[in-house]
Amino acid sequence: MKNKKYNNLRFILLLGVMITFSSSCERDFSDDVEFSTFPPNGDVFLDNFSAGLDYFPFVDAGADPEAFSVDTSEKFEGTASMRFDVPSFGNGFVGATFNTTANRDLSSFDALTFYAKASQAASIDAIGFGIDGDTNNKFQVTLNGLDISTRWQKYVIPIPDASRLIAETGLFWLAEGASFEGDEGGYILWFDEIKFEKLGTLAQPSPAIFSGEDLSQVVFTGSSLSINGLTQTVNLGSGLNQTASLAPSYFEFSSSNNAVAVVNELGEVSIVGEGTSLITAIVSGVLAKGSLEITSAGGLLESSIPTQPAANVKSIFSDAYPNETESNFSPGFGGSTTETTITGTGNGEVLTYANNNFTGILFDSTVDASSLSFLHVDVYVQEAGTEVGIQIRDVGANQEIETDPNTGNPIEDDRDYRFTLTNLTPGQWTSFEIPLSGDLANQKNNLGALILTDGPNFILDNIYFYTE
């Protein structure tokens, strides 16, 4: 190994030349056997737009198209940089993709790299590559919250699986703006030497689905759900780990039982039969962290169709009535273990709760139920003995949920009425008409939330307030 000598190099070269000459009189391969490929050009912006590159601001989404310019006074190297003037809060945002008119073959690279600096320390909301309207952003990669300092530094966005990137147009995109009063805005971002590179220093890729969590869910035949939380963490040459969000097409999803569930390349799971199946994924041969164990109990019976006239109803969740208000079905209360999904079935949507300890449905706008008398809810369980607690909360004139953290009871101007859904028959829908009584009898004009306790596994449908 150490002592290898190359005295024969010239001879080998000569031999090579001879072979080339002697073979040159043979016919070339026909064009049929050669795959045509797009140019393997990794340059995006060095000192100006690379071949075929164009600027596409996200004008429809409210981006300021004037925010971008080519700056010849600030640059890391060469003669110019890309400059973005990030507007102050309320004046739009920087958002654009830089795409080529001619496809590029990026399969020989392992990362998008660039130098960047900002006029003040900043965090870019989203930056990456792979925006392509023709493919619905099939190979999009996004870094969220990339911190940029006030001096030029190199940044690296690894390509999850370069072998897929053989006909790309979306080379670079970003979105950054002041998303609230007091967020950074009214500053300048510069980028230079933006290009795809073969670094060779990226390692230990660790992809994840469901953000790396092992979930389980009870579902019904005919329903569908999406695999979310698609990321990959890569150890950069600096030794630091960096996590990016990936489009589903980088993953190969699989279902351990295709008679129960099938997954398409967009990570959409369709439940096709009764039984259990484990949903997993790999990226470039590496098993992703996270999984979903699906238990399908077969087809879900329809809940009974509501019969109240719409004029008498203020609805929270039902396919039979328009919503009185939009609601947050996954409020993420601290300490909550609940997994809530809105599941599509052949007969509209239902709310599926798994592993519930406590969660809630928070109304975006309060509901005035002064003239209404009941809350209707349909509930479906599979296990005998399951009980579900419902607390109907009026949040009072101040429109805020105020709860004693020790007892869970309403305080200040809040009032509630509590009811337990009990005597539930497994495998059937049971309907409840809950009176707006107790402390709500005299205060129900600012209904703001339903708190759900116990279970732990149940399905709800047709949640609405009404009067007879």
Binding site: K5, G200, N241
Partner: protein
């Protein structure tokens, strides 16, 4: 080519041809280069091919790890525990060394030294440290191993040597040659050092080498020294990156006596810092071979 030129210039300026053991240039070319340095640039590529990072070729120990199971007990012994003072081998290292097959084993032609996150005694981690003390000791020669390194914050693998008289002359008087040290959080950086009286611990004579466009945890690399009277040359793969001589050390030269080899994966300690939440366990160092060649004084 830059490195070649560096060596050529060193040779021509210092005129220490006999002392420079690091490079072989055919005599005719050497004369040419001294007379007309410009040609060196033109011939740079060619002389680069001639650069020889190591030249001792008489193999005296060839440990290829071809038998599955525990490593050959006639060559390899183990340090067990947390050091004679129970203080993490003087470095506040966190691991407890065992000789369990969970921590050290040979599989498929490769020695695996694995650091695990598991509680034993007062330690949260286990790992292994192999040594050839009293089993294979040699003065001078070429010592090299082909290794794929682990990675992650707080992971500290090493391939190194200690003076065989360490029981009579405690460290640092015994001398230490670190052929390879590496911090798991710096995956492209290798450290080669010597320690002796007056130059040890944080004041060791060291040099770091950064691998270009590659890293040590994704493939095998060869780590070696070529050691003779009054010099230790450090190389990785085909790159000679340092030479340490008595002129470089700030104390007595303690490297003219037999040394033995050690290989280990430490966790935490003053040299690397502790693992963090992102450090993945287990972490394994893969050793394809350890080869030792004897010193050939003709060079």
């Amino acid at each position: 080519m830059d490195q070649t030129l560096f060596w050529i210039i060193s040779i021509s300026i210092q005129n220490k041809l006999l002392k420079m053991k690091t490079m072989k240039i055919r005599t005719t070319q050497f004369k040419l280069l001294v007379i007309i340095p410009v040609i060196a640039i033109m011939l740079g590529c060619e002389t680069d091919e001639e650069q020889t990072v190591a030249r001792f070729t008489n193999l005296v120990l060839s440990e290829e790890f071809n038998s599955d199971g525990a490593p050959n007990a006639s060559i390899w012994a183990y340090d067990i525990g947390r050091g004679p003072n129970g203080d993490g081998w003087g470095n506040q290292e966190l691991q407890y060394y065992t000789n369990s097959s969970e921590n050290v084993t040979v599989q498929n032609g490769v020695l695996l030294i694995t650091a695990r996150e598991e509680s034993i005694e007062d330690s949260q981690y286990t790992s292994a440290r192999l040594l050839t003390k009293d089993l294979f000791e040699q003065k001078y020669g070429r010592f090299e191993a082909r290794i794929r390194l682990p990675s992650g914050q707080g992971i500290w693998p090493a391939f190194w040597m200690l003076g065989a008289d360490i029981d009579e002359n405690p460290w640092p008087a015994a001398g230490e040659i670190d052929i390879m040290e590496y911090r798991g959080q710096n995956p492209s950086e290798l450290i080669g050092s010597v320690h002796g009286p007056g130059y040890n611990g944080g004041n060791a004579i060291s040099k770091e080498y950064t691998l270009q466009n590659d890293r040590f945890d994704t493939g095998f690399h060869i780590f070696g020294i070529e050691w003779g009277p009054e010099y230790v040359n450090f190389y990785v793969d085909d790159v000679l990156y340092n030479q340490i001589t008595p002129e470089d050390v700030t104390g007595p030269w303690v490297f003219d006596k037999p040394f033995y080899m050690l290989m280990n994966v430490a966790v935490g300690g003053s040299f690397v810092g502790s693992p963090n939440a992102e450090t993945v366990f287990p972490q394994t160092m893969l050793v394809d071979y350890v080869r030792v060649y004897e010193y050939n004084e003709l060079y």
